[in-house]
């Protein structure tokens, strides 16, 4: 039983979507009116219409799409590397309890190191190539995945694990039948978090280092004072981020739904 007020939106999903839409529309209208009414200088905040026009102009150029492609390429490659490495290391550490205890302090120390600390290093090693971006993306995304996999490993039902051992399951079999099913939802959470962190770092690397992609186009727009274009590109990065988030949640829900039903009862 929940307080009645909370029940209402859930009963009309259409109503929620409508409210959400009205919120977005409100924002667009606000950004249109504020500079036009002179409350904010239109040099700092161009009205929505001008931003959208700049967006249309950009979308008409090939260079824009190349930049989007560059950003997404760096994102995808970096994410893939980070996920594979994160899952591999996480499962390895998880399967051997001694490793878990020994590596705990190291993980806790390396994890909070801000990836931007590596920017100067990246510049020296790779200049403004894809390599720089990948260095940052992989570093940041790897920890997201690893931490989640370790949570998943910690969540394994000890009774299930002991049962498997008593049946003399090999380490590989234990991983496959006990560890992996429990860790899988966490892996997906890790991928989702890593996906958005990867985008942030990719764009950051491009912005600060000048590697190819949306970030560097934004930097150029700023230095050449093309303000509406700059805003338009920022909106694009936001849309990319939202799309990635939604796609990740969608994939998570559907793959795990299949997974749960195949497994039958969840151990938790």
């Amino acid at each position: 039983m929940t307080a009645l007020g909370a029940a209402a939106p859930r009963r009309m999903p259409g109503g929620r979507a409508l409210l959400g839409l009205s919120g977005l529309t409100g924002l667009l209208v606000l950004v249109e009116l504020l500079p036009r009414a002179g409350i904010v200088s239109d040099r700092y905040l161009p009205p929505t219409s001008r931003i959208l026009a700049a967006l249309a102009d950009e979308a008409a150029t090939g260079a824009f799409w190349v930049a989007v492609g560059d950003t997404l390429t760096a994102w995808a490659i970096g994410l893939a590397i980070a996920v594979v490495a994160g899952v591999a290391v996480g499962v390895l550490i998880g399967a051997v309890p001694v490793l878990r205890a020994v590596t705990a302090s190291t993980v806790e120390f390396l994890r909070p190191i801000p990836s931007v600390a590596l920017i100067p290093l990246a510049v020296l090693l790779y200049g403004s190539d894809l390599g720089s971006t990948l260095l940052l993306v992989v570093y940041a995304a790897f920890w997201q995945v690893l931490v989640q996999v370790l949570y998943g490993v910690a969540d394994v039902d000890p009774v299930a694990d002991e049962t498997a051992r008593s049946f003399r399951f090999s380490a590989l079999a234990r991983i496959r039948h006990v560890l992996w099913p429990t860790a899988l939802p966490y892996v997906f959470t890790g991928i989702r978090l890593a996906a958005s962190v990867a985008l942030v770092l990719a764009v950051t690397a491009e912005l600060v280092i000048g590697a190819p992609g949306l970030g560097s186009v934004i930097a150029v727009a700023q230095t050449s004072n093309a303000i509406p274009t700059m805003y338009a590109l920022i909106v694009v990065t936001g849309l990319l981020g939202v799309t990635i988030n939604l796609a990740a949640r969608y994939a998570e829900r559907h793959v795990l739904a299949w997974h749960q039903s195949v497994r039958g009862e969840a151990p938790t």
Binding site: G23, P112, P114, V116, L121, V200, V208, T237
Partner: protein, 255 residues
């Protein structure tokens, strides 16, 4: 006790020694011997230098983080408490959260110039979203029975906020504060790399530009240490603030 110490320090010490040994005869310009880096560390980060560079960085970080927390929690409670407002605001907030925070630096530089204000605003603009969204979620998910009990006993208004909403949402809020801390550190460094005259990020970039590689590495290590220390402090604070929450979870897990 010894065993615990070994577990905690074992691997880090091994890695450190390996790095030291492996790089001892390094000729690589970009990867100098660890010995050199440590020497540079001691030479560079004198108390004066720390005061001149690290303190301003920390001050800006602190100001931005605190401001983001205040705004995020206040707005989060207001939005979270009203289902219609929440439904309307959610897509807008999710959009703003999805914009990579460093990308806003050029925009904010337009408004706020290149001084300390700009850096604090940059930090706030990036940090506030996880705090806000987590607060909204935490307030929304307050237990219905607890909420009804409060209402039945006449606990409304400010008392409801203080005794029900904030404590009930605190696990979520603190999770948001955790995410915001990482973002804050990143933005602190980035904003200094863009436009600054002091600060840790500024110093590291200066070293890199003048090819003072061991010094650059020492700065990176210092930044890493900073991140680690702040993270540990946060963990300690969280453990005491959420002692009740961990207790509840343990009790549930045991039953």
């Amino acid at each position: 006790m010894i065993k615990r110490l070994l577990l905690v320090l074992g691997l880090p010490v091994v890695l450190f020694l390996t790095w030291y040994a492996a790089s001892a005869n390094s000729e690589n310009f970009y990867a100098p011997p660890l010995r050199q880096i440590l020497a540079a560390f001691a030479d560079t980060w004198t108390p004066d230098r720390l005061r001149a560079d690290v303190l301003p960085s920390l001050a800006r970080l602190g100001a931005g983080y605190l401001l983001a927390a205040l705004i995020g929690i206040a707005a989060g409670v207001a939005i979270g408490a009203g289902p219609r407002l929440r439904a309307a605001a959610e897509p807008v907030l999710e959009f703003f959260r999805a914009v990579p925070p460093p990308v806003l630096v050029p925009v904010i530089m337009l408004f706020a110039g290149i001084g300390n204000g700009m850096k604090v605003i940059v930090i706030v603009s990036g940090c506030v979203w996880p705090i806000l969204l987590n607060t909204v979620e935490g307030v929304r998910a307050v237990d219905g029975v607890l909420s009804d009990t409060s209402r039945a006993y006449g606990i409304t208004g400010a008392a409801r906020l203080r005794h029900l909403l904030l404590p009930a949402a605190s696990p979520q809020i603190i999770a948001g504060l955790r995410q915001a801390l990482s973002i804050a550190i990143i933005l602190m460094v980035i904003s200094e790399m863009f436009a600054a005259s002091n600060g840790l990020g500024f110093a590291i970039v200066q070293f890199q530009r003048s090819f003072a590689i061991p010094e650059m590495w020492s700065g990176i290590i210092l930044l890493g240490l900073l991140g680690f220390v702040l993270s540990e402090l946060f963990r300690l604070a969280e453990r005491s603030a959420l002692a009740w929450y961990h207790g509840v979870r343990d009790a549930q897990r045991r039953s």
